[in-house]
Subunit: 251 residues, 8 copies
Amino acid sequence: MNADALKELLENVKNGSLPVGKALERLKDLPYADMGYAMVDHHRALRRGHPETIFSQGKTVDQVVGIARRLLEKDANIMATRADQTVYEALKTIGGRVEYHPAARIVVMNRQPITPTRTNILVMCAGTADIPVAEEAAVTAEVMGNRVVRLTDVGVAGIHRLLANREKIRTASVLVVVAGMDGALPSVAAGLTDKPVIAVPTSIGYGASFGGLAALLTMLNSCANGVTVVNIDNGYGAGYAASMINRIASE
Amino acid sequence: MNADALKELLENVKNGSLPVGKALERLKDLPYADMGYAMVDHHRALRRGHPETIFSQGKTVDQVVGIARRLLEKDANIMATRADQTVYEALKTIGGRVEYHPAARIVVMNRQPITPTRTNILVMCAGTADIPVAEEAAVTAEVMGNRVVRLTDVGVAGIHRLLANREKIRTASVLVVVAGMDGALPSVAAGLTDKPVIAVPTSIGYGASFGGLAALLTMLNSCANGVTVVNIDNGYGAGYAASMINRIASE
Amino acid sequence: MNADALKELLENVKNGSLPVGKALERLKDLPYADMGYAMVDHHRALRRGHPETIFSQGKTVDQVVGIARRLLEKDANIMATRADQTVYEALKTIGGRVEYHPAARIVVMNRQPITPTRTNILVMCAGTADIPVAEEAAVTAEVMGNRVVRLTDVGVAGIHRLLANREKIRTASVLVVVAGMDGALPSVAAGLTDKPVIAVPTSIGYGASFGGLAALLTMLNSCANGVTVVNIDNGYGAGYAASMINRIASE
Amino acid sequence: MNADALKELLENVKNGSLPVGKALERLKDLPYADMGYAMVDHHRALRRGHPETIFSQGKTVDQVVGIARRLLEKDANIMATRADQTVYEALKTIGGRVEYHPAARIVVMNRQPITPTRTNILVMCAGTADIPVAEEAAVTAEVMGNRVVRLTDVGVAGIHRLLANREKIRTASVLVVVAGMDGALPSVAAGLTDKPVIAVPTSIGYGASFGGLAALLTMLNSCANGVTVVNIDNGYGAGYAASMINRIASE
Amino acid sequence: MNADALKELLENVKNGSLPVGKALERLKDLPYADMGYAMVDHHRALRRGHPETIFSQGKTVDQVVGIARRLLEKDANIMATRADQTVYEALKTIGGRVEYHPAARIVVMNRQPITPTRTNILVMCAGTADIPVAEEAAVTAEVMGNRVVRLTDVGVAGIHRLLANREKIRTASVLVVVAGMDGALPSVAAGLTDKPVIAVPTSIGYGASFGGLAALLTMLNSCANGVTVVNIDNGYGAGYAASMINRIASE
Amino acid sequence: MNADALKELLENVKNGSLPVGKALERLKDLPYADMGYAMVDHHRALRRGHPETIFSQGKTVDQVVGIARRLLEKDANIMATRADQTVYEALKTIGGRVEYHPAARIVVMNRQPITPTRTNILVMCAGTADIPVAEEAAVTAEVMGNRVVRLTDVGVAGIHRLLANREKIRTASVLVVVAGMDGALPSVAAGLTDKPVIAVPTSIGYGASFGGLAALLTMLNSCANGVTVVNIDNGYGAGYAASMINRIASE
Amino acid sequence: MNADALKELLENVKNGSLPVGKALERLKDLPYADMGYAMVDHHRALRRGHPETIFSQGKTVDQVVGIARRLLEKDANIMATRADQTVYEALKTIGGRVEYHPAARIVVMNRQPITPTRTNILVMCAGTADIPVAEEAAVTAEVMGNRVVRLTDVGVAGIHRLLANREKIRTASVLVVVAGMDGALPSVAAGLTDKPVIAVPTSIGYGASFGGLAALLTMLNSCANGVTVVNIDNGYGAGYAASMINRIASE
Amino acid sequence: MNADALKELLENVKNGSLPVGKALERLKDLPYADMGYAMVDHHRALRRGHPETIFSQGKTVDQVVGIARRLLEKDANIMATRADQTVYEALKTIGGRVEYHPAARIVVMNRQPITPTRTNILVMCAGTADIPVAEEAAVTAEVMGNRVVRLTDVGVAGIHRLLANREKIRTASVLVVVAGMDGALPSVAAGLTDKPVIAVPTSIGYGASFGGLAALLTMLNSCANGVTVVNIDNGYGAGYAASMINRIASE
């Protein structure tokens, strides 16, 4: 029952065409009733202030295109993550402005103009192989209107390289720190700032890295203050949460 | 080498009593040299804007008291977490203002006056047994000057109780969501707000909860945007990170 | 907003004392608003047709008593599980009819008269040490009005003992099958009936039983049709689900 | 020894052609003796009231066809699960009525007319990627004569979409709830009904979902009453168990 | 239906007092019917050639005594494993011959005279702390009539000590090899014999031994021929299986 | 130092050409010295009474052929396990008698005549998909001269099929019991015999079978006496150990 | 700020062109400031005394070539590990001296003359399939100027083969011991020497080897003195650490 | 057969009283025969150059005293690790020089004079709670004659404290780095030296530290060169291995 229907109901009560008892009956289930939202939740963008995201992995190209098509009808700002070249080519065919960020594996469609933040998110990663996850975080944040600074190849085994970038660390309002293998970077980075650090373990590694489990556990056990963690390889989630915080900082 | 020693060195170079070559030699290790910080890092409070914290668990009462004594000499604002009644009694004997929060298991000493935030942190938990962890988060945040709103017993199996508190959810600038067992609460809560959610799994449960592992994995796999996770039972860490974000929001 | 308040609102709309616009405003948040349920959900008993349950484990005696007191005020039918003798003694002091089932570790208070089912639930277990969990299931089901048949010590290593009880198996409308160690009993039992089997792994065992994990995995991997599984040692959950099914069968 | 042979034995005892001692000897092993069932258990369909199922995964096409051929000779109602297009094509060549449900990956052969249930099973899933498992459950139940209602894309992070379908939830006699990632849906769904909920974790997810382990643990630890769980991706098992319950409800 | 009842039935058929049809009816369920065995399976001793065993761990002293009492009525040869001094004292009070083996934690009651084997079982262990498990295996085998040779403190890090006992290894018909920590002993021992080796991991160790898991995995992955494995700390199971093999060798 | 060299040394001592002191010196390291065995241990066949086995998995065809060639030079009886068609084709080219058992994935070369055992090994498995592992066990045992009886498709969910084969179970001197999924078969089978049971978990299954871990744990936790376990899918190891026992029984 | 800039600063202080206050200001961040190292750390070779290593796995050929090109500009001694034939071919095209060690999967470029050690590293492995990891260790050590002795196929199930090589064991200054499956070799080897043993678990095995986890745990739990462990399959790390020790021994 | 017996045998061969054939027969088993070592291996001290160690954990005080007594008879240098005050008091009663190191939980008996090393071992740890493990390493190394430098409370979240001690790091010939929680310290420390680093994970932590597993995995996955790892809490093993390396460096 949407607002119009509700208004009509109340007016019918007022003008006597609908008895109170019947109105009550119809309102009984209202707490859990249909709130006028369709299954594809194109209104969430407004409610959460962010674009609609299609997680492409595990979906067929047809499914991704189908979902995108429906979202476009609602003028939603769309982001398809974990998208390879094939997905990009397919999305180009359905019209609208389409950009592709191959390193981040993200397709952006129908991007709305957005006021950029004055403050920065710093996205750093420990090794070359962690770059795709770091880029997923960085591009996600950029699509959501954030200024993003990048820092790569600053593993803890060469601590001077990290220290040499203290300025970047100090001027960010929130940090996304991506690392595989031993996952030690967020602990060190958080010790150099008083801003929140969102740690992203990656599945990079071999043997006892167990697909990123080692890095995940390291980060959850970090002794540094201000570190919170997202799922293994979840650059998108980290970029999204960082954007929420940076938006606050920027306003 | 602290600032005074460095200044003296430069002045000796200037007045010719120290040749440039010798000065270079002494500065060679500067990048990694002693920066005037003692082992107990009482300066971190200023650098990070926060009190010194003693994690009492696994330490003897004597060790906790010893550390507290050294910190007091530096006029640090002190917080002892995972502190039982015995720790509290012992800390009372060393003087200063001492408060005890038994539900949160936190002793606060030497608390400095601090401007309270205008914005709120909402700390919610799913079950009665999760309250100690939630309180650890709430008191940590309060000690750090935040206004904290509490909400308890809002498990997802009785979703109406959560929905009945949407106003509290909507007016918080950041949420700490504590849950054991299935750990599903953060996913649902995050769907009702566009603010960051810090999820805290607890070790509450039995059988296949595996000491909080089930709740931890649930939270890491949350499909809701804006959820980040801390270690099992780490109310302190969640309160600390929430404070960082709320401070940004309040300023 | 409860039914009375809603009725009053509608009547005020009808009699013109509340303009439609203001009524709309107040109804706007209705989908998520307070639905008249207090935090302690004493209405759930009616909605779900079952008693209120207090999980005593991990709660202090005071907390259990406090919750019980509030529920008694609402005339709820109460069950405290994982309750030891101390909990029982404490609950006796707050009045009402109180029964204790020590093998099941369940206290029942204020039990309402309930029509017994015509059909049976069969609760069986593999070993003597599994009896507490089996009793938790059996007593839970009995409190909810079910006729329960018990069968103990029918491990698969002595298959003739199980086969000797085929009649009990065939006449049950649903089976609760409890086993620790290798957890193989539900697979065999389910092969002897065409009724649903609810399997309950127990933490009984040592070494590679890993606190019931072995039995849990065995049951999840059962090749027999109709087997579903609950958490390790979760006799209560099995008894509850079995009651739901047996109630259907009995009606 | 089948019934005819047993009857003949008794008649030989009666007419004196078989001494009691010899008859005893031949009956000695009867408790464990051959009961006239062949290795391929085509009689189970009658005993359990259900079709014969071939789990195709891990079998060669030739093996699947061979088993199907033997079952057809006995006029069994046959279902091949985890069957791809190749299996379907091969089964079509051996004659009889053959249907293929590609989303569910199920081939049905020789389907017998069956009285449909009056009551409903509700099969719901959290995400698009969970649909194959949900369809496996739904088609299994339909083949077994159940009326099935479907509900998709109702993840807990958008709780209003679930609440908008409360009517479907309330009118089902049993629910199959399928979810990957955080696996939180069954907890919420079970809170909205007083009917049994069969939870199916899926292997959908990445990182710390560990192939469905996260969702499995979430479901086993659900705080909601009436939830039981099957193996990861086991749509067939859930559909089968749901049919057992719905058949009871319908009769 | 026991042999006497069956004989009576056949004789009634023979003398015409029981019609064939009625006899058939009564025999119908015979394949699965009660075979005259009580729930406490005192006949298994004969069928399996071995004593009745009570696993005391996880049972109250009263339960152990109760089971022992029933078994004694049937003249069974009884063994209570994982039995401490208290269990021993309690069992002494119910009469009969009672021996206690404290290192093995085994109480033996009512031991029947048994022909000792001519061949040997060799029970060896790697460290002092493994002795209780080794003794459980050795005493179990001795109670079952086997000649047992013991060898202790022959860890693989001092390989000469093991090699110095090659004669004991070569003259055993079966070996029980007990080891905690790295669990490497069975691999080496099996390389020095062509007889079966039953490997018993123990929970001895710390850190990454994970309660015996490390030793268990080592043994399961042994490259040596003829090694089979039992549960962690399962000395009883190893002694039992070794006895089965040694009995064959001795006959 | 081989026997010939040792004899020569002693004779040189005897005839005085080697002083006792020098002989002592040369014998000093004998306990650990080269015992005349080449790296490829072709003498083990005699010492252990069995053929040389090449585990082909993880080796290139060239490596397998190279090892086989060296073994053939020593007249060893050779078995290549986990061998596919390509390995077989390659081994055929190096001459000698070569047989291939495709279901068991075993190539046998140079098989020596061997007296068959009088007693039987029973190899049984729960499902069709377990057959390759069961065949690996059966063929291994046959190559080592054992009479092997096979029994397939006797899962515990259809217990009558197992019971119908009690005669095969009772007449075996040792059983190899192969099962994936829930791995429950060995527990039931061991309850029907007083002979040793070697349990082989297989990697057959999905979801929470975790590549055979579920079946492995089930078997390790079996309550039945006489069950020992080998590695997941280790049909070869089970067949080898069974042969050791059956050889004892046959002699 | 590199040495030249620092010298210039000091000279400007000395000659008065830079006031002490301003110099202090510029030196303030020196502890953490840029120390003249580029992101690709070509100076580490000097600081650590070793070549630059590119871990090729998980990098594209283009990325490996790009990194190598930059390193070559600095005259670094380069090693690419986990490098297949394609990487080798690509690296050949960029000039310089290029060697390929296919068994070790290592490409060496621009190798500097280096004084060989007088002392030996012994690299041994248990099985043929472990050779690639052993070779990675051996070649790494050789590139770093060590004399390396190899020993293969000395599994603990044939202990005489290991003992026959005691001389090689006794004359090494450090041992690298590589093993998969049960991982028992390092324990035995360490018992035969008083030199450090670096144990390398490999992912060789199947079933309960869990990708090398079993061997890893065995090694961590070794009872032998002097054993330390590296990651699964980490031949490079073992060779590197062994080189550090052998360099000490050789000097 | 010890050296005297062997000499006698050879002389009997020489003087003709023992024929060569008989001598050969007696020498046949020599490779594996008793080598004159008793079961308690008091000769290992000489062979390995180190004291005999008694791991007290899991042993009764009587067992520890018994072993110590036997070792004292052989004049061995003795160390009892994981020894509490009770063990110390008991060992004092059996005479000889006895020292107790309570922080390290080590009792030293009968310590022989030993030439101290010229070079240092640096033992560092991340937190106060890690001190017992660090002390176990340090005292073990000191008992074995090493100069040990200690460094505590240098967690990676306060990186400046570690950097302030670079001199201690640079002057050590080998490092033992102890850390619990996230276990990140060895990675950072190894980046500041070109000497071997022995990493010791501790069981310090809570929640997802899983008793030290998180720290263990972090260390195994370290990206820094020269890091090897020992078991969780294994300070003794680290101190022992470090001593082996430092002894080499010192000679």
